[in-house]
Symmetry: C2
Subunit: 360 residues, 2 copies
């Protein structure tokens, strides 16, 4: 059974293909008599007509495809965003093309180029670095694109993210309320906006709670990964820094921290409280369950898609680029508890019987 095309519908309705085309398109259906519209629409339904997107795209110089670029779809942070975006795009008649850059800049460029060659109408990018050449190029070229989750230094492209500052502030407030005074931030990579922003918000929160502000309280990790978090925690323990709580740049870093703390004989939350970021699936079922900041991932994906859609049929440069921040929530769980005495790194100086030092 051959695919039914516009000519077939037109013939069935007894009109010219051109007329049928106008009748079917909501925009132009005003140009044809209501009676004819009805006839055409009915014929289309009866025959099960589905327009050929390639032909239409060729004629209209639009592909109705949106490219979405994520660093690693395997990271549970991204699927909800993808899902939110896909839902919005699909009801608007667009198709989502997903690509995974494997956290590699070269691969990212290749993917984006390939999509551009395909005539992709716009991009949803979750891979932004703080200084990102590729994104600058896209901005220069006027390619419709929206950033998700991570922003760039220039703020030249529309951006949808979470209100990280408020999340950090809530986390610090929570810890302060539990009596913690020496809080360490295991920050995310400083070449990402989230890493920088959360670190900056952390410093500000420390000040506003009038907590001791010494150096070494913010310790950037090499990556948003468990291993990077573990490594940073080892360095932290090896240093002489005293702390009773850790605010991690994200959940994976928190998991790495927990692993190392446990290995060092420190218990959570009895000895050290830990807060994560992102609320990945299952972190609520760990022992202890992880206190963390919940992000509206799905909504971020949906909103970014919507912003892209409006950008698509807006005039070339319509006002300033939008920067949207969605609200977050602190999920208080088992990994945070009231402050014990100050805890310090490894059995160094004032050596005691174990890693658990401080007052007393």
């Amino acid at each position: 059974m051959e695919r039914v095309k516009l000519v077939d519908v037109a013939r069935a309705a007894g009109v010219h293909p051109g007329t049928a085309s106008r009748a079917l398109a909501p925009d132009s259906s005003g140009l044809v008599s209501p009676e004819t519209v009805r006839r055409v629409v009915r014929a289309a339904e009866r025959l099960g007509y589905v327009p050929n997107t390639l032909a239409r795209g060729l004629r209209m110089a639009r592909s109705f495809m949106i490219g979405m670029v994520v660093p690693d779809i395997t990271n549970p942070l991204f699927p909800p965003m993808v899902r939110g975006a896909e839902q919005v795009l699909s009801i608007a008649g667009y198709t989502l093309v997903l690509t995974d850059t494997d956290n590699d800049a070269a691969s990212e460029r290749r993917q984006v180029d390939q999509l551009r060659a395909r005539g992709t109408d716009g991009f949803l990018l979750a891979t932004a670095r703080w200084n990102d050449e590729l994104l600058d190029e896209l901005a220069d070229a006027g390619v419709p694109a929206v950033l998700i989750n991570r922003n760039t230094a220039g703020h030249r492209l529309p951006y949808v993210g979470a209100d990280d500052r408020t999340g950090v502030s809530a986390a610090v407030a929570h810890l302060a309320e539990l009596g913690h005074r020496r809080i360490v931030h295991l920050a995310g990579p400083q070449d990402t906006s989230t890493g920088r922003e959360r670190a900056s918000a952390f410093r500000q929160a420390i000040r506003s709670h009038e907590l001791p502000a010494g150096r070494g309280l913010v310790r950037p990790c090499a990556a948003y990964s468990e291993d990077a978090g573990a490594e940073a925690t080892e360095r932290l323990l090896a240093s002489a820094t005293e702390f009773t709580a850790i605010l991690a740049g994200n959940d994976l870093i928190a998991l790495g921290a927990l692993r190392v703390l446990t290995a060092a004989g420190l218990r959570c939350p009895d000895d050290v409280s830990v807060v994560g970021f992102n609320d990945l699936p299952l972190v609520d079922k760990l022992t202890p369950s992880l206190t963390t900041v919940t992000l509206p991932l799905r909504e971020m994906g949906a909103l970014s898609a919507q912003m892209l859609l409006t950008a698509l049929d807006a005039p070339r440069d319509a006002g300033p680029v939008a920067q949207a921040l969605l609200g977050v929530e602190l999920a208080v769980r088992g990994s945070t508890g009231t402050c014990p005495e100050a805890v310090r790194g490894y059995p160094h100086k004032r050596g005691g019987s174990g890693p658990y030092l401080g007052g007393e």
Copy 2:
């Protein structure tokens, strides 16, 4: 800067567009003189020519796009498959279009229709039901498609899955070795091949280990979800069935079971051992860490993509449809331990002081 098209290249090389087209296509470049080929290729490179995929697709009735359909990208089971498939497809010059059906048959049909309208060259489907009308239609229509993870009753389409039977068999062997004799299987939905296959493999394993085979040992859940697993476990406890171990249809079901067991005062693995399936991220960090069956998800995705590619340029019907099973591994962790005395449901009959009854 306008996109350079084939005519531009042809003019620059001093040939007809048709000739340029042939010169550029590896298949037909034998039809044109080597000298001309060289000239055209150089011109194309110099001008930075990238063919318009839409135009080509329209003419050739191929889009170089592959549709991948998953029930829920948010389920950590799927991202690795997507990733494996994407990698293979992208190096073959194909683009992966991902859609999420939200576990809804109507939505699935809509998505597939839309993709077909777009001229999608083939499908990777992870949504198969045991009796699946849509897939039968696709098979009838001769649409190139490969099933992943789940199969259909008819076995009419190529399929790539995991060797579930061996996984189940290893799990049961492991439990039997720990001394368990009364093992219950909280099976997955029986309208999925995985649910049926694992249940069938379970029965066979019970027989081959000569374990007591009573009724009520296989208890299908309504879905592959934590809630469904919890509900099934409640019914199990309410029944008079004795058991010391549970083999869950997948990890989510296992999590539901653990929740209910804990709530009922039963401890894992002291009172009841639990085995999952799939090895989702983080289940190794739970307390107790979950013993489960690890699937080669990424490889499954890659292989299915490869099979689809070969199917794409094979003659219409080339031999029997391939059915590939990839090896699995049992990850033995903390949720399984040596058998205590028989455990039974709630304080019924022979009423004791708690839920923990049996021998002793």
